[in-house]
Each structure stands twice: as structure tokens, then as C-alpha cells.
Amino acid sequence: MLRILVSIKQVPDTTNIRINPETGTLIREGIPSITNPYDIIALSFACYLKNNYGGKITVITMGPPQAKSSLREAVEFGADRIILLTDRKFAGADTLATSYTLAEAIKYLQAEEGPFDLYLFGKQAIDGDTAQVGPGVAVRLQVPVITQTVKFETLDLEKRIIRVHRKSENGIEILEAKLPVLLTCDKGLAEPPFSPFPLILKAVKAEPEIFTADGPVNYQREKLGLRGSPTQVKKVYTPEVKKKGKIVDLSTTPLKKVVDEVIELLKSKGIL
């Protein structure tokens, strides 16, 4: 039986986000909250593994009380235990403080119910795009991490080895890891399941366990929230696309020449 931990985050639905043109800040008012789409992939993968290998899914999230709705959604993916880390003292956390808060909670859960085999995180949260929390937790738990997991190949429960594909800048890496391992989940890894009716009913009424700064986890106060966050945001801007494309004007260059040029270019890059 697999013991799976999934860590999720509720985020503003950035497809709905608007920027205040005068102040340049995000207008958050009236923006619906959703579960971070990469975390949905993590939940979907957990669900797939549970259905095929058997197991137990524990889901945690850190956030304000309304993040409860994301945990309820997790129940539709077959989550057996849901935990909300919520406290004003957690607020304002950067990736350092967040991974501390989550990792300590996970350690607490392991002491309580035994170690997890798999830790699943989203590749990144769409409201911050840092992709640092998953690896940050892995370091604190001292487990190996595979980021940007895009495909699952095999899982050998006897040997405790999982084989997955990881997307890197140079292509796809096929990796094997011994459990326990932490994966950050990327597009393609798993599709959301069609949840059964009884789970839909269960999810509506599901109440998460609440963890605060005061318990049951023993936190070092100075490492929490804004106090524990050394990150300083100096400026927010839209990054420029660095790699410039080559533009060929078809009105001045004959088509045949353009095609030849493109083929040459692809050959020189080793793509063809």
C-alpha cells in the first residue's frame, strides 16, 4: 500500500486577474479562487496511483480559512485525510517560510502515522511561479526530488522503485528513484479523474483537521510567516522574451529560398 502526501495551494484564478492600470497592482477583488492547476495534476496522479496500487492519500494546504474548499475538492480525488494549516502567523510567508511550515507539518504527520512513500507537489503555483516550495520541502525532509515530472512509467512496489519522465530544458530525462521521493508534477502526468458520486457527496461535507502555529506541530515562531521570510520583492515586471525569433519577409524573399533557409537552420541545430 502506498502512502501518498499531496501538498496543494489555493490561488486566485489568474486567467481572471486584471491589473490596475494606475497603480500597477493586481486587482484581487472579486477574483475567484481555484486550486492551483499543477496541484490538480498532483491530486490526479495521487488518485491514479491509489486506484491502481492501493493506498492512502493525505492532503495538506497552508492558507486562509477559505482554502478549505480546495481540500474539499481533494476529497473528490480520493483524499482520505485533509489538513489545513491556517493561522495569521503563517501569513506573508515566502518560499523559505512556506517550505519550513509544510515540512514540519509533514514530519509531524509521519511521526503520527508512519513515513510517506511519495510526496507530490505541483510544479509551481500560478500566482508566484517560483517552483521552490516542492524542492524546499524535499531538502528539509531529506528525500530526493524530481521536478517537472511529465509522465509516469512504472512503479515496482517490491523494489520500491518509481520510473518517471522529467522535462528539462534539453529534452526529456527518464529517471528512476527509490521511494520515498518527492515529485513536482507538470502537465501531462495525469488527467483529472471522473469522480464517483459518493465522493462528490462526501466532499461537500468534508471538514479538514486544522493545524495552527500553536499546535499540534511545534513550530519555531521566528521561522513562520512574514517574520521567517527574508525575500524582498523589489519590483514586479513582465520578463522580456530573450530568444529572438528570425523573421523572414515573404513579400521580399522567394518562398523556395525561405524553405531552404529554414531546413538549413534546423539541420545546423541538430533538429533535422
Binding site: 473528490e76 464517483p196 459518493p198 461537500v204
Partner: protein, 438 residues
């Protein structure tokens, strides 16, 4: 796995279904409400103005609730009558500012759903009812799209003693239950198109002359619909306003206009344009409103089944009643079901009490009135073209009468009226409307 069996299954989490569910939950009846939207209210659209009295029947402590679904109380209500040349405003300050309020469906329906959940109603969102379980003519439950377990291809059957159909205007299940005499045609439904428009900070109050805690609900008649039978509406929410048009599908089809073109045209009406200036559209939607009235009324009950709200066609467009009728019908159905459980009989013999209650109520009487009105009013093109123009021109003449003999002005006005509609025509129209209303 726990057994899926309920006393009552309610299909649809709009105001009708939720009201029935709340009534049942209060009586301790084990009811399940199934809604295909992501949550109750997610899929729905409306103006909308809600009447406090109907909500109080469900939630006695309303409007003192937290979080409240109230956007703004309606403190001012009335009509804008527009011609292509100008605008006449007929507004009144309401005696009781708490009588009506504006709300959005997403927040109003989910407010009722939260309330219902606390009372013990089971709610299953994201689930669609595909069909009814039947035993001969008797309805024995529903079939939903979701399976019982992951990977199981079979839909789930959920047995129940009574099924309440609250599926709204698209009466798929009502038809499957065999309760519909005839399907509705284009003349039986209105199409409402609507936008929620966010105005720059403070503009809503400034442009409509409102203070904090004041709200406006106006219907707009005349050139706003390109003189097609129908109306426009403006309702103020807390930070944005709802603007839309309601038109008969049949007229719309005959006209050259597409619904969104008409809405664009209306928004750019020279005398309303300033209101929407620099506005940002937060939401756009279209939805049908049942207008089949008495003729299209389905049978409202059968063995093991009841029909409530829009599915039944309980809407009074003239007085902007839909939500409240949905609520009342839901409550009446709930009361009938409680009786059925006391008797242990779920056949039409007991359930017909629901129709009897409806017939005795104002809802049914209004449907009769509406039927007559519809015949005379909604087909009377003068109401949407001639009268709005006449009214504006008359008032405009009257207020530009300075420096002239007033008798001459009056004569001009009479001449105008005679030319445009004729006194006999006007008297005839008045009699028709009068007859329908009395």
C-alpha cells in the same frame, strides 16, 4: 459502501430546488439535491431583484445574515421610457427600502445552499441527472452521470420515494416524466441577454444619484429594444451594475438583430451611453425565461414526482417575479411532500395537493391575468414604439412651451397624439389592458 437511498431527490439547485430542500430539511426528511453546476448558482444568470418577503419564509432571520447575499437594497424603482430622441424617467422612492434587494445568482444561490447544508440537506454539485427511474408511470428515483466508483463506466441509480424536478427552463426531465403536453415554441420563451458592468470607482453612485446603501432597479421600454416587444433593465449591485434586455425569441428571430447586437446597440443609446462610460464587462450571458404561462403549464405532479419553479413556467415578467415564485412553489411542494410522508402515500392522490395550493395562491391567478395581458400587450407594437415616442415628444413640447401661447402648445400636443395613435386607439389600448388587469 454506504447505501445511496433518499426519501426525496431534488433535481436542480436554483431557488426552486433549494427552497424545497430547505423546507424538507427543516422537517427532518432525508433529501438529496443534485446540481450539475460547480456549485449552486454557478450556471445561472439573473438580473436580479429578489423580494425579501419570499426569502424570509425560508430564512426567518434574513436579511440579518453573515455573509449576506444582498448587493444593494432597492430604494428606487421605476421605468425609463426611451425614444430615439430622448428619455423620460419615472422613478419612485420606495416606502420600504428593505422590500427588495439586488443579488447575483452565484452568491444568492450559494447562500441558500450553505443554509440548506446546515439544516441537513445533502447536496451533490457537479453532477447531472440523466434520467428518471421508473416503474410503469411511477417515478422511483433518478440516474446520475457519475459512477459509484472510480473507473466504473455505469451511471449511478439513486432510488427515492419522490423526485422533485427543479431543472429550470429547459424541461428535459419534466418531459421524460411525461408531464408536458407540448414542447415550447419560440413564442413561449423570452431570451434575456445580460452583462455585468464594472464602472470606475464612485461612478455608479454619481451617475445614478445614489448614496451608499441605496440601489436602483429600472425597466426600460421603447427604443432600447429597437422597439421590439420586450424591455431592458438596469439593476445596481454593490460595485457593478447589471444591464440587459429581455425579448421574445419569436420576435427576435423575425427581426434582423442578433441578441448581442441589440445589447451593444442599447448600451450605445445616445441617452444611456454616459452611464456605461469606461465600464468594464465582467460577465456576459444569455438565458431563457419561460413565458408559456397557462397554456404551456406542464402537469405539476404525477406518481412520485412534482415540478417546481421555472420548469413549471412560474414567471411573471411584468412584475419581475421569478425567483420569488420559484421559492414559493418550492415551499408548497415541500409542504405537500411532508404530508405525503405523514400519510405514507407518494402517489398523485396525495401529491395533487401541491397543484391545489398553487391554484389557490396569487401565482395561479397571476398566470391567468398574464395570459390576457400577453395577448393584448406583448403583441401591441404601439407599447414599445408609438407610446414611448409619444410620451417623450409630448413632455418635450410641454417643457419647451416658454414664450408661446400655451393654448397653441396644447393644441400641438393634441395634434401629435391624434396623429401618432389617435384617441380612439389609445382608449382601445387602455380598455384592453384594463380588462386584462381586472
Amino acid at each position: 459502501m454506504e447505501e445511496l437511498k433518499f426519501d426525496v431527490v431534488i433535481v436542480g439547485g436554483g431557488p426552486a430546488g433549494l427552497s424545497c430542500g430547505i423546507t424538507l430539511a427543516k422537517a427532518g426528511i432525508r433529501a438529496l439535491l443534485i446540481e450539475r453546476g460547480r456549485f449552486c448558482g454557478a450556471k445561472n444568470l439573473f438580473g436580479g431583484v429578489v423580494y425579501t418577503k419570499s426569502v424570509k419564509e425560508l430564512v426567518p432571520e434574513f436579511p440579518n445574515v453573515e455573509p449576506s447575499p444582498v448587493e444593494r437594497p432597492v430604494t428606487e424603482e421605476g421605468y425609463y421610457i426611451v425614444s430615439s430622441e430622448g428619455l423620460v424617467k419615472l422613478l419612485h422612492r420606495k416606502k420600504d427600502p428593505h422590500e427588495a434587494f439586488t443579488a447575483t445568482r452565484a452568491r444568492f444561490d450559494s447562500f441558500l445552499a450553505e443554509y440548506a447544508l446546515k439544516l441537513g440537506l445533502e447536496i451533490a454539485p457537479k453532477t447531472k441527472v440523466l434520467d428518471l427511474l421508473k416503474e410503469g408511470q411511477r417515478i422511483k428515483g433518478v440516474i446520475v452521470d457519475r459512477p459509484r466508483a472510480f473507473g466504473d463506466p455505469r451511471p449511478t441509480e439513486i432510488p427515492a420515494n419522490i423526485v422533485v424536478i427543479a431543472e429550470g427552463v429547459n424541461r428535459v426531465l419534466t418531459e421524460k416524466a411525461g408531464l408536458i403536453g407540448r414542447p415550447f415554441g419560440a413564442e413561449d420563451v423570452a431570451l434575456a441577454v445580460k452583462e455585468i458592468i464594472q464602472l470606475p470607482k464612485g461612478a455608479l453612485e454619481a451617475r445614478l444619484g445614489l448614496a451608499e446603501g441605496q440601489g436602483l432597479a429600472v425597466e426600460i421600454i421603447g427604443d432600447i429594444t429597437a422597439c421590439l416587444p420586450g424591455t431592458g433593465f438596469i439593476y445596481t449591485n454593490r460595485n457593478h451594475l447589471s444591464f440587459g434586455l429581455g425579448l421574445f425569441l419569436s420576435n427576435l428571430r423575425e427581426s434582423a438583430f442578433k441578441p448581442y447586437e441589440l445589447l451593444e446597440r442599447a448600451k450605445n443609446h445616445p441617452h444611456l451611453r454616459e452611464l456605461f462610460k469606461d465600464g468594464e464587462i465582467l460577465e456576459y450571458g444569455a438565458h431563457l425565461i419561460p413565458e408559456w404561462g397557462l397554456e404551456g403549464l406542464p402537469r405539476l405532479y404525477g406518481d412520485g414526482v412534482l415540478v417546481v419553479g421555472d420548469s413549471a413556467g412560474l414567471v411573471n415578467p411584468l412584475f419581475r417575479e421569478g425567483t420569488n415564485l420559484a421559492i414559493y412553489s418550492g415551499i408548497m411542494a415541500g409542504k405537500t411532500i411532508i404530508e405525503a410522508f405523514e400519510k405514507g402515500d407518494f402517489s398523485s392522490r396525495t401529491l395533487k395537493a401541491y397543484e391545489a395550493q398553487l391554484r389557490e395562491s396569487f401565482i395561479y391567478q397571476d398566470l391567468i391575468t398574464l395570459k390576457k395581458l400577453k395577448k393584448h400587450l406583448f403583441t401591441n407594437i404601439h407599447l414599445f414604439k408609438t407610446y414611448p415616442e409619444l410620451l417623450y415628444d409630448t413632455i418635450s413640447l410641454f417643457f419647451s412651451a416658454q414664450g408661446r401661447p400655451k393654448r397653441e402648445v396644447m393644441r400641438e400636443i393634441f395634434e401629435l397624439i391624434r396623429k401618432k395613435r389617435g384617441f380612439l386607439g389609445i382608449v382601445g389600448d387602455l380598455i384592453k389592458v384594463g380588462r386584462a388587469l381586472w
